[in-house]
Structure formats: structure tokens, C-alpha cells
Symmetry: C3
Subunit: 213 residues, 3 copies
């Protein structure tokens, strides 16, 4: 019975991870298409967006092998996704896709943040560093996408809360960890807070405080 629940939980976690990775890859695909990149550029930008945040985290924490080396099927999956999308998607589907990926993107942001905090705490990082590693995992894929596409990163510019949602969720995860809460409680709380804040922000049009010029 308990084993059943655990395996259900594990399956659910895997589904969120796949959905999040696909959402990140798709956001890279859309940006690459908007910039009129060629087929190579589209694939690279999609991979960078999907795997960039976790790779930067692993580089900074000096963890090897990278997660996309251990699970090389993720790489194959994103490349297959690129080919399918390039064959079948048309311009007028862009807006639809952008709306459609908001949910998996928010859930993925929460999950990747929790993963980043978890791995950093495992390496005995100070708590602030661990939370920032979580944010990096969730956010820097998009930052690298924008840098490669020669844009100021959306995450730093559009006044929509994104990184701050991950920041809040990261503190929740780290705090519950300090209180010795079971791992799945911290994970669920982190995803719920991060994704909840993000979706609320999109729904209610919350804006980040502006610089008082």
C-alpha cells in the first residue's frame, strides 16, 4: 500500500519533470523561430533552454556526470521534439503554444528549483547559496536562451515575477528541510508555492517593484 503510493509519487514526479523539460524546450523553439534561426539554431536553442539551468548548476557544484549524460534519452527526446515541431508547427500556433506551456512551465520551475536546492544542500552549501542554486536551475535555461538569441533576458526585464517565485519556493524547501520534514513534503510545498505564485502572478498581472528613478 505504502509502496504503491511511493511509486505513484515517483511516477508523478517523473511526469512533471518531463512536462517541464518539454515546456522549457518549446519556449526555446518559439524564441528561435521568432528570430528566424535555421534548423541547427532551433535545436541548439531548445537544448540550451531545456538543459542549460541544470547544467550550470552541475558545473557550479562540480557534479558529474551531468543529468543529461545519465539520462541521455532526455537529449534524444528534445531533439525528436525539435524535428516534429519544425515539421508540423505553423506560425499561427505560436500564441496557442505560449498559453499552453504556462502550466507545465510553472510546475517545471517549481520542480527544478526543488531539485537544485536539494542537490546543493547535499553538498553542504550554505542555505542562501542552495536557494540560489535552485533559482539558477529553474531560471538560467531561459537566460541562456535569451543570451544566445541576442536579447536582454526576459527574466530580468519583463517585471513579471518568475525568479522570485522560485526564490520563495526555494526558501520553503530549504526551511522545511531544516525542520526535518520528509523529503516529499518539502518537494510538494516547494512546487505548490513556486507554481502557485507564478500562476497567480500571471492571472492577476502582478508586477515586480520598479526602480524608483
Amino acid at each position: 500500500m505504502l509502496a504503491d503510493i511511493q511509486s505513484w509519487g515517483e511516477t508523478l514526479r517523473l511526469l512533471v519533470e518531463l512536462a517541464g523539460t518539454a515546456a522549457f524546450a518549446l519556449s526555446g523553439l518559439l524564441e528561435a523561430a521568432r528570430k528566424r534561426l535555421d534548423a541547427v539554431g532551433v535545436c541548439v536553442v531548445a537544448c540550451v533552454t531545456a538543459f542549460g539551468g541544470g547544467t550550470l548548476r552541475d558545473l557550479l557544484l562540480d557534479r558529474r556526470p551531468f543529468f543529461w549524460v545519465q539520462h541521455v534519452e532526455l537529449l534524444w527526446g528534445v531533439m525528436a521534439l525539435c524535428v516534429l515541431v519544425m515539421l508540423f508547427m505553423r506560425q499561427r500556433h505560436f500564441e496557442v503554444t505560449e498559453k499552453a506551456i504556462q502550466w507545465p512551465d510553472a510546475l517545471g520551475l517549481g520542480l527544478f528549483t526543488a531539485t537544485g536546492v536539494h542537490l546543493a544542500l547535499n553538498e553542504q552549501m550554505p542555505i542562501l547559496v542552495a536557494v540560489l542554486m535552485g533559482v539558477t536551475t529553474g531560471v538560467f535555461g531561459g537566460v541562456l536562451r535569451d543570451v544566445v538569441c541576442n536579447e536582454v533576458p526576459t527574466a530580468f526585464r519583463d517585471h513579471r515575477p518568475y525568479a522570485v517565485c522560485a526564490f520563495a519556493g526555494g526558501w520553503i524547501y530549504a526551511g522545511l528541510g531544516l525542520l526535518d520534514a520528509p523529503g516529499w513534503v518539502a518537494l510538494v510545498a516547494c512546487v505548490a508555492v513556486t507554481a502557485g505564485l507564478r500562476l497567480m502572478a500571471l492571472w492577476r498581472n502582478w508586477e515586480l517593484p520598479a526602480w524608483r528613478v
Copy 2:
């Protein structure tokens, strides 16, 4: 007799490596000059273009020392090249240079790709990852050059096959490796396929399939 051939082969490999490094550095010099960078910028962009791909590969594979630390004379060479070019080259030589470096650039692309695949396979990477490491070695010097010069990377945008040639050559190298072919056969085949495809693409004006908008 056999030793003679081996030492000839080794000399040839070294010549291609030097020519490729110089071609990469020159492409960085030209872009930096076009962007009107100062002397510091010209040197940095040339070094980034020449060494960026291999450095990123070594970072991702966690290899130390870097090849430009082991062979620090390469660094001295590129810096001397920068000074000479800045002293003696004029604007009207730019187009000549661009044509002139197509051959060494294509050969270098092939050789660097083979090196990348080889090193990654040595570290037990999955074959797809190894091939992508080869492509990274050959292509990311130019990508970093364009990012530093604030351009969308040419390799992702100009619809000319470049990374895909390296990708094809990389699979050839890895495939021949799996079939236990001798190292030099795999190397020659990889360089021939990569450089051959690249030069054919330039000659026949091949274009990458475009996104069907």
C-alpha cells in the same frame, strides 16, 4: 618505414591543428575588427574563437589541465598573430582573408570534431553525448565569438551547413570507433566527411531546411 609514416601522419595532424587554430583566430579577428573593437577586444575575441570550443568541452568533461595550458605556446602564437594582423592588415584584405580561411577552417572543424568525440568516448560518455561534444569543440568557439560581439551566432542563423557537417563527421568517427577501426582511419574519415561536406555546401550553396512557417 612504418615509424616514418606514423611520424609523417603526426606532423600532418599537427599542421592541420595549427592551420585550424589560426583560421579560427582569424575569423575572430575579422569579426572584432568589423565591430571596431579596440586592441584588447581583438585579442580576447581571437583567443575566445580559437580556444573557446575546446575549453567548453574540457569544462563539460571536467578535464584539466586545458589544452592551452599544456601547450601554452598556442596562446603565445595566437597573441602574436593578433599583433601582426593589427599592424599589417587593412580593410580591403578582409574579403580575401575570409575566402582564404575557408579551407583551413573546414579542415580544422573536422579535426577538432574528431578530437572532441575521441576525448568524450575515452571518458565513457554515451555516443550521442560524445558526438555533441565533438560538435561543441568545433562550433562553440564561433558561437562564443558571436555572443561576445553581440550578434546572433552565425552558426545558428545563416542556413549554411556548418554544425551539421561536424555532426555527420562525428557519427562517422564514433561509428568507426565502435567497429574497432584503427584510430587514424576514423580520424581521416571524420576530417574528410566534415570538411568535404562543408566545402561542398559552400561550393554548391546548399541550404539547411527552413522552418515551415
Copy 3:
């Protein structure tokens, strides 16, 4: 008595390090504000500018933990600085700030360069690589700041000597190290040469030699 002088020297070094870090962070803040980034962007760009150079050096030398993990209070400090500046600084203070940070920026450049050369020599790097690591430590925070803000890096473009001052200072440090001079002599000489050249360059409007087009 000698212990007194040593502890004074150590305090002075710490003060220069804090002033340099603050100056780097402020230059990131100003650029982020000019680009109208949101609060998240401002904090990230300030941190990247303050810690980017040293982090890149540590990545290349494969040193862990990063200095901002060992001294996590630096991270807290820069984030507090960002909040304070966002609350209290107005546009008209930008020019004042830019003038005001020239001195601590130049001193920080010297100190960070010396630190980079020192750490690289400790890892048995060749002397040219060690000097370049020193330059990287001092200069690449600003380069990353400009890349993230989607500008061609100022250090490569404005014809004002900046990296060359660090380059000169780095050779001084490495040279004195080879001559077995005491560490503090090399440190003081490096900071004096780097900061002195930089401030002279600003004062006398020195320009880098231009490309002869």
C-alpha cells in the same frame, strides 16, 4: 609590533576587497538601471558583475568551494546593497556614482588581478596563463555584465586601457614572485601599478592603439 603591522595590512587588504566588490556591484547596478531591468535583473546583474570574474577563474582552475560560498556574507552584502540602492538612488545620482567608483574600482581591479595570478601560480599554471587568470578575475565580471545586458563589452570597445593595466600589474606580480619577493611586496606593487596605470589613463585620456584600417 610586526604582528601589529601584519594585522593592519590584512585589514587594509580586506577594506580594498570590500570596496572593490562594492564598486563592481555598483557598476552592475548602474548598467542594469540604464537598461531598465526589473528588480530581479538588477540583483542578478550586480551579483554577476561583482562575482563573475572570480567565479570564472575558479571554474577554469577547478577550485571549489567558490569564494562566495566560503564568504557567503559577501553575497548577503551585495544583495543588501541592491535593495538599498533601489530604494534610495535617483537617476541624477548616476553620474556622481560613476565618478565616485573610479577609485575603488581601480584598486579592486589591482587586488583581484593579484589574487588571480597568485591562485593560478599556486596551481602550477604557466606564467602567461597565470597572468591571464589575473586579468580574467579583474575584468570578466564586467564582461559578463555587458553580455547579460546585451552590449558589446565596454572593456573590449571603449579604447580606454582597463584590461591592459591589469595585464601589466599581473606581470609585475608574477615577476616579483619569480624573484622570491615577499608576498605583500608583490601585492602592493601589483595594486599600485594596475590602479596607477588605470587612474593615469582616465586622467590623461590615454587611448589604446587602434586597428590600422
